[in-house]
Amino acid sequence: MTVSVAQAEDEAPDAGDFLLWILVWSELTAFGILLVAFMVTGVFQAGEFAAARGHLNAPLAALNTAVLLTSGWQAARAARSGAPRGRMRAALVVAALFGFVFVAIKLYEYSGEIGYAADAAYGAFFELYFLLTGFHLLHVLFGALVLLLVSWRTERSNVLLITTLWHVFDLIWIVMFPIVYLA
């Protein structure tokens, strides 16, 4: 199956963007497997996981959810049909900046949690927590850098690709937050 060359520039991503959706679903599969592993381990180490959650900063993570949603809004503004290039560039830069804010808040959050990582009283919670959220954090950091790059080279196909991926990173966090912090 080939990507349609005749694909209208202004169309939202659809089933014709074969490689894009392969990438999207590979990300969702990877994170889905990690989240399932987290939950399964949580069944067998329920006490340890409950104790470990007491050391997480859920309000800060909720703030980070708002930060990522705001970034997603700006990314959607950049990908709007008919958006002038100047506005597209500005929205991409703002989206990237909020992405970096997310990274900064997350690193600050980690500084308060890293001390518990080696404590056996919390089972495998913190290993899985840092793996899961750290993997996501790297995606956000990389995505924010690509948003900045694309703001410099605003071909619409590039904008569509990176903003679609950016929203996927947002979706992953939206689902991950209650499972890791609250469940």
Binding site: A76, A79, H167, L171, I174
Partner: protein, 90 residues
């Protein structure tokens, strides 16, 4: 590209922030299984809004359902996990 107006996107962002605030309140004041169920439902709702409006997939229902379905499967699994733990602990 996304076929939403600036105003529509702004309204959707406000809705998403409001839902996030409601989730925080639900955990704080409801708690337990009911609070978790509410939070997971709200997370699914947020997923739906991001998929339909921010990703512009209103015209591609199959992909939209698949993406939201991904979130639903995980949310249901999280709820099931807590039910199992509750039963196991008696």
């Amino acid at each position: 590209m996304i076929d939403r107006t600036e105003r529509q996107l702004l309204r959707r962002w406000i809705t998403l922030i409001a839902i996030t605030g409601t989730s925080v309140a639900a955990v704080r004041f409801a708690g337990g299984m009911a609070g978790l169920a509410l939070v997971l439902c709200l997370a699914t709702l947020k997923t739906r809004f991001v998929v339909l409006d921010f990703m512009g997939l209103r015209h591609n229902r199959t992909m939209a359902r698949a993406l939201v379905g991904w979130g639903v499967v995980l949310a249901v699994s999280a709820a099931l996990k807590d039910v199992i733990i509750a039963f196991a602990s008696g």
